[in-house]
Amino acid sequence: MAIEARELSKSFRINSKLPIPMSPSSKKAGQEGVSIERKVFDRISFTLDNGISCVVGPNGSGKTTLIRVLSTDIPPDSGSCTVMSYDLVKEKNHVRSIISTMFQGGSYFFDNQLTVGENIAFLSEVLELDKEKIRELMEVMGVNDYIGFKFGFLSHGNKKKMALIRAIALDRPVLLLDEPTSDLDFAARMAVRKILQDIGEKKTVLITTHEIEDIELCKKLLILYDAALKEYDRNSILKLANSFKVISIEKPNDNLGLEGYVLLSKSREQIRILVSNQEVEELIRKLQGYTQVVVGKPNISEIVIYISRLNNRSNW
């Protein structure tokens, strides 16, 4: 096994005067002005082998934290984990020499004051990156024209492309990527999926995602929600996703009669509900006269919310 985690736990202590939810799905609020512990994941176990594996879950479910823990950026609170037989905590320097990682952060950990070219030159020297490979990937991702730009001037999407290029060009056996396709334009998303597909044959790749299309690349699908991690059959989830639609109702009033539907999110501005394909027409009829209704495909996080509701939230 390339990655083997046993009973891995991570929590954060939050000092705040504001009420903070105890967990992403909990309605309970933390007491004012106290320090509370928020469990991000609690005694999770999993194994990963060569190929692409996906971790999915709604925002705040702990996907990025899991990538940071596996990248040795932060230590787990308890449990054990090995990466290519090296212990994640005790042998972190060995782990660091065999992983490549990308996770979210301001400028994706490039130097904003330097140009793209200067950043590449520096990282090539320090991390021994293959400059030719970088040039090739920059062309594929459509960022080769930005070589003379200060990194801080790049758009968020282009910064992310550069972070992906750095992670891929490092050519390590284990690749840990946090939402590699989000915030990218269509062409870049397709290019990233093609690259991941190619390297997934020889390497262990773990990605987090909200995108249904990314799930199609995965050999293994893990859902992280409510501090628990479970493996699901990829095809069943894809089938489930295809049998639902998301209906967004802008500026809703209180008397829409939506009882019995799966509520995804609700604010004064918008309500989002998950509806089976068979129910869509009926609901549209019900909402006739209500002009601001949009029908779309659900993303994977919305399917996760649906599954958790089916499984009674706390014990899904």
């Binding site: 952060g105 950043n119 520096f122 320090v126």
Partner: protein, 271 residues
């Protein structure tokens, strides 16, 4: 060595993008000389000549590089925390297969030491029209370079160690800069301090650094080594002990800082 060279190039590039900071730091010696330096020199030169064998301006001018040895790396300490949270050091920490920590610190120290030496050189050049009584020798020059390097290393490593405890730059300024400036004898001869304060001065490594620089460029009387070592030992032993003290402190802090550097990245910077 390639790692060290890569870090030095990076730091120079980053410093050169901070043009206003860079220009201000280099303008400081000139501003100091034309205001505070000239005024106090006119008032106190006779007394200084009699007691220390040199004028006030020359005495002060050799304390000022220490100001830069402290202020350059300290001013960078906030940036450093930001860099480890948001910049390339965060990813190097996670992905480099080499031990990069000592190279990272030494590269930054080299760059700030060069900037401090530049400030010293600038002071010496603008001092010439005033007929400053400096004596130059190769050994003196090399000692000054070494002392500046060690002082920057000390400050920089100390900043890393303290950045694990303190959260804002204002804490550094009030906790470090003021007592260090005041007790190290940058602005005055420490020989007139009361006994207890003289002891504090002797503990601060910067006092030894300034004393060594003054010894090689102005002579023993102006160096204040006699006061720092309470008249014990001969001048050469005092110089050797001061240098050893500085090296020891800098080395201990370098080791501590290298160990803590890995943990700097785990602090999230909130805006």
């Amino acid at each position: 060595m390639p790692l060290l060279y890569a870090f030095i190039k990076r730091r120079f590039r980053v410093v050169l993008t901070q043009k206003s900071f860079f220009i201000f730091q280099l303008a400081q010696p000139l501003i100091w000389l034309l205001t505070y330096g000239l005024s106090i020199n006119n008032a106190l030169s006779k007394a200084f000549e009699e007691i220390l064998g040199t004028n006030f301006l020359a005495f002060e001018a050799l304390g000022l590089p220490m100001l830069f040895s402290i202020s350059f790396p300290l001013a960078n300490s906030l940036n450093m925390s930001l860099e480890f949270s948001l910049g390339s050091p965060r990813i190097i920490r996670l992905l480099s297969s080499h031990d990069w920590r000592a190279s990272f610190i030494l590269a930054d120290v080299a760059v700030y030491a060069i900037l401090s030496l530049l400030a010293l050189f600038e002071l010496l050049v603008i001092s010439f029209p005033f007929g400053f009584p400096y004596s130059f020798s190769l050994i003196g020059f090399l000692s000054v370079v070494l002392v500046i390097f060690l002082s920057v290393l000390f400050t920089y490593s100390l900043a890393i160690v303290l950045s694990k405890v303190l959260l804002s730059v204002s804490s550094y300024v009030s906790l470090l800069l003021l007592p260090f400036f005041l007790f190290s004898g940058i602005y005055y001869p420490v020989m007139y301090l009361p006994r207890l304060e003289l002891l504090i001065s002797a503990v601060i490594p910067y006092s030894h650094a300034i004393a060594i620089i003054r010894y090689f460029l102005l002579g023993y009387k102006a160096s204040q080594l006699g006061a720092i070592w309470s008249g014990l030992f001969n001048p050469i032993t005092q110089i050797a002990l001061s240098l050893t003290y500085l090296i020891l402190f800098s080395f201990i802090l370098l080791v501590l800082a290298s160990r803590l550097l890995d943990k700097l990245g785990t602090r999230e910077v909130l805006f």
